[in-house]
Each structure stands twice: as C-alpha cells, then as structure tokens.
Amino acid sequence: MSERANDHYVAPVEETAPQAIDSVKLGDRKSNLWLDAWRDLRRRPLFYVAVAIVLWVGAMALFPTLFTDVPPNNDCLLANSNGGPEAGHPLGFTRQGCDVYARVVWGARTSLLVGVLVVVITAAIGIPMGAIAGFYGRWIDSVLSRVGDIFFSIPYFLAAVVVMSVLSQYRNVLVISVAIGGFAWASLARILRAEVLQVKNLEYVMASEAVGRSRFSTLLRHVLPNSLTPVIVYLTIALGAAITAEATLSFLGVGLGSDVMSWGNDIAQAQTSIRTAPMALFWPSLALTITVLAFIILGELVRDALDPKARARR
C-alpha cells in the first residue's frame, strides 16, 4: 500500500470550491452508465427490430405449436419429396417429404438452446479465469494466462470437431455445447483480464480496500461489476456465433445426431439436392442467418450504447 501513497495528489480543502456540492440538483434525472445506455438504445429503431426477432425466435423455441400444427417429423410422405409450396405447407417439402416450415419452427429450439448453453459455459469458465488473472496478478496471472493461451491457440471449431469425433456415441445438445464453450471461453477471459487490469487501479477500488473490505470482496463488489461491459457485448455476439458453430458441426456430420431437428441438420440434408430443390436449403439457412444477425446487431448496439465516446460522436 505504502508505495501507492505518493502517486495520488489530494487537493487541499481551500482549492475545492464548496459551491460545487450545492450546485448538484437532486431533482435532476438520475444518470449512470446503464441508464444512459438504456436511454440510448430506446431511441434506435434497429434495437426494436433485433429484440423483436430474438423474442420471435424465442417464442418459436418455447411454443412451436403456436406457429404450426403440422408435425415436423411424422406425416412425412415420400410422395411429397422436394415438393413446392401448397395449401397448409407454405414453404414446400424436404427431400424426405417433411414440411419445411414446421421443421424450421421446431429447429429454433435446438439452435437457441445450444446458443444459451454455450454462453453459460463460456461465462462460467471465462469470467472467473479472466477476473482472477487480472485482479490478483503475479504468478496466478502467469499460470491462468498460460492456460488460457493454450485454449486460445486451438481454433475452437477444430477443437469441437475433435471432441465430437471422440464422443461420437453422445451427440446431444449438452455435449456439443461443452465442446464449443469449453474452448470459446479463452477469448472472453482475455478481454475481461484486460478490462480488470484497468479498473483495478481506479480510486474507488483503492477506497474499497482502504475502508477494510477484503481483496476478494472488492473484486466481486467493485471491480467485476465495472468490468462487465465488454463481457456482455462479447457474450451477445458469442451466442450468435455458437448457433453458427452448431449448424456447421451438424452440417459436417459431427454435430447433433441426424434424428435431432436442427437448422444445421436440415441444411446438411437439403444440400444433396441443391440443384433440384434449392428452397429446402434456403429456408433453414434464412432462419439461421436472421437469428445470428439479430444477436450480432444487438451486441453492436449495446457496445455503442455502453461507450460514452461513441455516443458523443454520433
């Protein structure tokens, strides 16, 4: 502590104008980073579009029967194979004669579940790793950062391919989420560590320790909450990326089992008849793209809203 003392200059009382305190009007509207960000977001039309898409896909995932009463797996008639749209089947049929629209609706559940699980796993590993490495420094930082480097240096898609190849008997939603999130956390840990390194030298952190709060409690109460901005942005975008990763793995045949309804599986199956029936490939691809886009736009808008400099520039 003692070596820090000289770095900080405290203005003598006579230099601090006491009127400054009186000029704060208590009636002014409250303002902090999150409130400002929220006010900013509410003024941007794209925000409503992105939220509407996320809610819509979320509703499809939770209550698919609200959107379609055609069973997606049964009632598939090979007579309808690759058939065009007809009454009650607005998007036509797959190669197996299943209703494309019903499969797109039911596939939302798998994609969103994988996205959410990956984000939970990434956060559960990445936040403690990054926060502890950045806050405690010294050998703890060296050890945790080297471990992070190793995970960071294996492209997470390739790592997931290996995990899914080894666990070929257990291709379910949980395993694929662990395979993706188990490696994706390293980027989050790096981002959070860099942020914590900046925040931990701020005056309020020192004040918290000066009044006797323990190191760990300071980390939890003061440092972490003030370092979360980039984490939230990263996780929002990571949710979209995880959905893409699942679809790509399923497309390669090392994702979810072919009996699971997912957009990736449907695209993989439609791929074989791309020349004759491209629309069966188009619709699940469109659903996938729009969902990922909604999360990316949400992440970008939140990034802008949480950055006062970017707000001022606009």
Partner: protein
Amino acid sequence: MLMYVVRRLLQAIPVFFGTTFLIYFMVFAMPGDPILALFGEKTPNPAVLEALREQYHLDQPFIVQYFLYMKDVFTGNFGTTFSGQDVGDVLARTFPVTLKLVIMAVVLEFLLAVIIGLISGLRQGKFFDNSSLVIALVLNSVPVFVALFLAQYFIGIKLGWAPPTVGANTTWAAMFLPALVIALTIYVTGMRLMRGSVIEARDADYVRTAQAKGLTSRRVVPVHIARNSLIPVITNTAASFGALIAGTTVTEGIFNIPGVGRTLYQAIILGEGPTVVTFVTILTVIYVIVNILVDLLYAVLDPRIRYV
C-alpha cells in the same frame, strides 16, 4: 528487436506443447478404447486397429504415448492417412493450394476493409456509412457454409460466371469465387477498424496542418489520412490469416478444392477419426506458428509493442 523475437519464441514453447497435449489428451485419455471410439458406428478391420494402436503407442502409459507421438512429429513422421497415404506427402501436395486460397481471401478482405472503411470514415453518419455497416453485418452473420452454397448455386450454377467446383484446376481464377465469399463474410472487423482510425485521423492536428497549408483532399485523404490509419487493419488482416488457414475446412470441402482443409473435411464426413485428429493437430500447429509470425510483424510495424 532480437530480445523481443527470443522472448516471443520462448513463450511459444509452452503453447506448442500445451495445445498438442490437450488435443492428444482429449482423444486418448478418454475411458474405453480411444481408437474404437474414433470410428463411431463403423467397425474397423483388425489389421487397421493394430496399426493404429502401434502408431499411437497405446501399449505404453499415457504420458509416454504423448512424448513418443511428439518424437514422431518432430522427426517428420506424421503417420499415414486412413487410405494409407503418408501424411507428410499429403501435406506437401495440399498445403500450397490452401495457402493460395487463403492469400487471395486475405488480400480481398484487406481491400474491402480499407476502401469501404475509408469512405465510411470520411462520410461518418451519412447514408453510405450506415448502409455499409448494415450490409457488412448481414454478410458477417451468414454462416460460411450457407454463403458458399448460395454463391455456388447462383453464381456457379445459375449464372455460370465461375466454376461451381474447383477440382484439380487450382488456378487463381478458379478459386476466386470461394476466396471472395470468405472475404465478404469476414471483412466487417477490418472495415470498422479502418473507419474508426479514419475518424480519429480526420480530426488530428497533422491533418488540419496539411489542409491549412492548402493541400487538396486528393492529397490529404490518401497520404495523410489513409496511410496513417492502416496499421490496425494490417494487424487484423494478418491475424485473420492464421484463422483462415485453420478454417478452410468447410470452404475447401464445398468447393472441392484439394487443400489441407478438404483432407480434413473428407475425414470428418467419412468418420475417419484418427485422420481427423492428425490434421487438427497439424492445423493447430500451423495456426500457432502463423500467430508467432504475425506477432513479429506487429513488432516491426509498431515499435511500441516491443517494450510492453
């Protein structure tokens, strides 16, 4: 500079052993017979099983297995692929093709990022700026394999402007379409970096000085603004180089480009687990090496980094 190079190379050693060990650990420390697990539902022929057990030294304790495997890797003995070809030979044949594809994609990405980023930065908040961002984000959210299918179907099959698959004809022209698709799906990051640094440079003192002494924007924009904004874009592009070499699996698979990625793609599709592990390891090692080179490039471009 020399100190920096030495330090960076020393840092790479634990990463190198860590990554290879981690992959090896994921495969061979699993309970049960790892070789059988890698085959999934297929039943391999006993001779193949025996050869693989031999290659991976499965009669030894786990840690000994790993070091024997590393010894093989360092002596250039990567083993054989599923169909019996020497992995070293396959790499010598396929790596140049992958490199060609990735170089083309990276150059296109760089050009898109610089040109669109520069115009966006100069017209900040205007129609071009907003619409180019939305377009780039849309392109960025299309999963690569979907983008490739769309390009293959519309440009390759429907319009016939480019060959829908590449095959043995690996000329620059034949691989232009897949390279362009890759570039279009990733240029958003570079574009935003360029835009950001152009906006900063526009208000910088040296730009005001240049304008004050009467230089026209024909000279100020390329020489004073653009050139000084390039460093973050260059470093970002260099970083995507490594990621792309490791990530061409899907691209090469769909466009049938005979590179390293397609070898992995086919091994994945056919469920040839041991070959998958070999090529993932090789691609990871290449990724680690490229990232070291990229870091050294940063240090050349930006001397401040050497002293961090």
